[in-house]
Amino acid sequence: MGKSTTSMKDFEDISLRDAFGKALVLMGEKVPELVLLGADSLGSTRGAAFAKRFPQRTFNFGIAEQEMVAAAAGFATCGKIPIVTAYGFLISMRACEQVRTDICYPNLNVKLMATHTGLSMATGGTTHHCTEDIAIMRSFANLTIVAPSDAVETAKAVKSVIYYPGPVYLRMGRGEIPKIYSRDYKFEIGKSILLREGNDITIMAFGIMLIEALKAAEILAKENIQARVINMHTIKPIDKDAIINAASETGAIVTAEEHTIYGGLGEAVAGVTSAFYSVPLIRIGIQDTFCGIGPEDGLRKKLGLTAQNIVKASKKAILMKNKEII
């Protein structure tokens, strides 16, 4: 990756979705092969700004996500770089087979930009919750999965994803996520980011759960427990080295994700630790249930996707590490 010419300052005080829309336009200026594909949701996915700036490079397929994803494959075979925008549950489930068979199997350069993931559509209920997408997408060979956690990171991730060869699934939430970073850091697909040093426990998270992970680390610090916090923005390929280092140096891991505990970050991390450096590992996530309806915060609290729960899990993992419980 070359040095960024985009001013990250522009992304500091806007929402993650707005950052996505803005980054797309900037990349559209730089990369003439970019085309935007939408499915009657360009407004809510924030593709609208690109559509306005580049109407000839925008294609709205209407409410037909399977067609859109298959068409993206066609665009890619002709040298275009299609940006496919839709709600995450529609890309990962409605168009699941097209993603696997038309994009991943031929290894085509298509960028699947999944918005409204996790519990972003909290009051939308289960039909609109996107809490199984990583499990599904992780199982497809050739596919890279990236999940930024705030506006600045989204802008950086969009740029990286567009320059990254091959199919990518970019997972974005909707909410107004508080800023986690300053703008000066390097974003590299596949390389996790150390946010806080610590040697008693490691907390790994991405997306909206990263804030909870940082809050948990602060609470733990008050009890003299030093938690390492790592931003696992790339779920696939997972940063094996960071996991092995965390396992060997801190001896216990807690993962946190706004996703089912099946097939998500937790299992990806467990896959590495069980093969290379086995340590106690507790997964915070949605426990094999549909989530019900409510405001985002309320739902997260109900499901245990909170700093408090991460603290609890961290203490338990440390006891396991010290063989005080099994």
């Binding site: 294609f59 067609e67 298959a70």
Partner: protein, 287 residues
Amino acid sequence: MPIIKIWGGYSKLKKLNSRELAKKANELRLISLEMIDKASGGHIGGSLSAMDIITALYFNILNIDPKNPKKKNRDRFILSAGHKAAGYIPVLAERGFFSKKLLATFNKLDSPFGMHPDMNKIPGCEMSTGSLGHGLAVGLGMALALRMDNYNSRVFVLMGDGEIEEGTVWEAAMGAAHYSTDNLIAIVDYNKCSMDGPINQVLNIEPIEEKWRSFGWEIRRINGHNMDEILTALSNLPKEKGKPTVIIADTIKGKGVPSIEGDYHWHYGLLSDEQLLDARRKLVGGE
């Protein structure tokens, strides 16, 4: 990247006329049957019903160059009914994309060819297919991309008749009409059979012409085994400027092997030695 070295014959192939094409198609039917025989089974019925159309495309219609299979302004062909690969791979070999000797590896371990074609292993193959209902939407994406770049390329998508029972076909049909992609041509190999039985008994797709017309497509209805009709239908496209064209080709499942013609049981199978000998006599004459 293709794992096959490109052979690259016939770059400046003289277009075959309808008589020569019909002969070529029958020769290719036999090659296909022999390939299936070596593999101990294959999708015989649909491969034979589509053979005249695929042969006409590759030896008369498509702007392609086996020596330069990725030239940007080429026409595209998508075998959306990917299970007809046994009727497609021999055509690519005969057209010079790779050596015919490779056909003997069909379905074998690590072969570039199996029941369904893989674009990253087969030179000249434009899309990996096999799961039905995907090709038309992929072709629409190609047609839009090619039009954006001002290429005159056409995109031909061959589907099975049963395939159009898939909902995604109609998403793409709607999309193509909406975007006026007159460089997109769908072909329906209407052999009247699907896997479980005669198509009108499994799921009736009639009235097929009215369906496509109401979706905004121009229709050409032909006998898919009459080379003159095939060539006429595939020439002078689009039929109407600003509209995609569908060619509905009435065909016979298993065409060329009298003992299996029109029998839905021959979606997949293996001819007996006697049937294969009969087919050889019928298709190329003599022994």
